[in-house]
Amino acid sequence: MDWIKTGGSSDGRPISRKVKRDRWERAGFLAVSVFFLLYLAVPILATVLFSLAGKWTDTILPQSWSLNAYSVIFTSDEFYSSLFRTIFLCVVVAVLEVAVTIPAVFAIKIGSEGLGRLIQILSVIPIALPAVVLALGSVKFYGEVLPSLLGTPALLIGVQTAFGLPFVYWTILNAFQAIDVVELYNAARTLRCGALEFIVRIILPSLKKGIVIAGVIAFASTFDNFALQQLIVGASWETFAMYQYKYFTIDGHAVSALSVIGMLIIFIMSWVAGFQSKTKRERKEEDAL
């Protein structure tokens, strides 16, 4: 029993070699992590510096600094129009996705397994479907069936809603795991509560956190889905991504300023999703640390 008292290993090897090996292992993982974090951070830093640069040709840091790029952007009506259009698109898509997914998952829980299997297959289709292929298919199909819909934000909203459904579906499905829907629903029915009332008064309050996470994920994935926005509406309903792309060949500083704004929005959304996914206990523990 000496190995327990001295903290040595059960296989008889000296503890110092194991500690050394663990340290090397930890150092290796830390090196990989630092490389990865730098890999993500350096392009962001380069973008921020470029957006604040007045003149920057062949020096390591900009030769002069300027907020001109931001003043050009923030004084442009087109910027605000494109941003509001994009926010409108993201909010509508997020609301639609959550609104159709919650009843569908409820239906899976109380309905037949066949329905569950069908919805699962449908939720996998967007994963196998590149955005460019879906855009082409939508334009072809509605070009024949309903040509008035072509190039309109309504078509973009519909296609984007369908395209983002898998992530919202999985998030809502995970959220449903925490509650025994069948038992609750049966109990509600004995108290003469209808299905719709059950969803509104029981399901929605129980899934608040899951709904917020799903909505945020839907928002973030819609915000910079350039492929669908370019190929379905293009310049006729200029979104933030299209406005940014327009400046690509015109003004690099303006593009970098727009990239910084876009990345900031995505980062805030990612942070909100991460924060919401933590339990209250985890948040308290982290605050204590």
Binding site: S33, I108, K140, L231, I266, M269
Partner: protein
């Protein structure tokens, strides 16, 4: 026997609970999928036969399109292999630490969603001819990036990695999180070291999840359009860029886009089936 009875009881409760009402609640979801997923895909498949089999032969034998498929597959496989290795390692290291370091989850969440035009410009600002890193290395006398071209498959691969690695890490992490510490403790009491534990216990448990996550990364890499379009402006031959170009710019060969889309869809469906197989195996442990 007890488990079967419990399942039957649960299923009978479900049938008693929902019945045909469940289809009514699933209707909006089914309508959205039908109108904006299923019908467009069927439309592409039907239109791909507009020129009959001759159209198919001309596309399949067109060297430009063949090179596009080769380029896309090469880039997707290359980036997938690297993203799977690095993302998997990061997930193994960080999964047990997330409760104390949730900032890492926010960071990789951001990285996985950060794509398109913003990412493209970030890489041009970093690795372009007058990019920050290119200038820094030039001033230090390191000629590593002297012959580097961002507008190339190798250049694109660095841009792809910046969202594929976080994506792999994000989707593989839940599987790593399901490894129970008791398994390692039990393995240690039986004299097993870390390597042996990973080879005999954790590895077989994590392998299906690893492969299903890798397949998802491949799907993402194969279908990427925005980042490639913004960086290369159609100067590199990739299949998604070809489809986008034929859709927007081409006057005479628009029908080729349907056939190329069906071929791309076929590759993606095969990968999705592989993902489904591994995902079912993984759910045995992950649940």
């Amino acid at each position: 026997m007890v488990r079967m009875e419990k399942e039957q009881s649960h299923n009978s409760r479900k049938r008693h609970a929902g019945g045909s009402l469940s289809y009514l609640f699933a209707l909006p979801y089914l309508i959205v999928c039908a109108l904006f997923l299923v019908f467009p895909v069927i439309s592409i498949i039907v239109h791909s036969f507009d020129s009959g089999l001759n159209g198919w032969f001309s596309v399949v034998c067109n060297s430009t399109y063949v090179r596009a498929f080769q380029g896309s597959c090469r880039l997707a496989i290359w980036t997938t292999a690297e993203a799977a290795a690095l993302g998997g390692l990061l997930a193994l290291f960080w999964a047990p630490k997330l409760s104390k370091h949730s900032w890492f989850l926010a960071f990789i969440n951001f990285g996985a969603h950060n794509g398109g035009v913003s990412l493209a410009f970030s890489f041009i600002a970093t690795l372009g001819t007058n990019g920050m890193l290119s200038l820094l290395l030039k001033h230090m006398g390191i000629g590593m990036l002297a012959d580097f071209k961002l507008v190339s498959l190798s250049g694109l691969h660095w841009a792809y990695l910046s969202f594929l690695v976080p994506f792999m890490c994000l989707i593989f992490m839940p599987a790593v999180g399901c490894l129970k510490p008791e398994w390692f403790a039990a393995a240690r009491t039986l004299g097993s070291g870390k390597l042996r534990y990973f080879w005999k216990v954790a590895g077989p448990v994590l392998l299906p999840s690893f492969f299903s996550s890798t397949t998802l990364v491949f799907l993402q890499a194969m279908g990427t359009y925005a980042t490639a379009q913004a960086i290369t402006d159609n100067r590199i031959n990739l299949i998604t860029l070809q489809i986008g170009y034929l859709m927007q710019m081409s006057v005479f060969n628009r029908s080729d886009a349907d056939i190329l889309s069906v071929l791309l869809l076929f590759i993606m469906i095969v990968a999705t089936c592989i993902y489904d197989v591994f995902n079912k195996r993984a759910s045995k442990w992950i649940g």
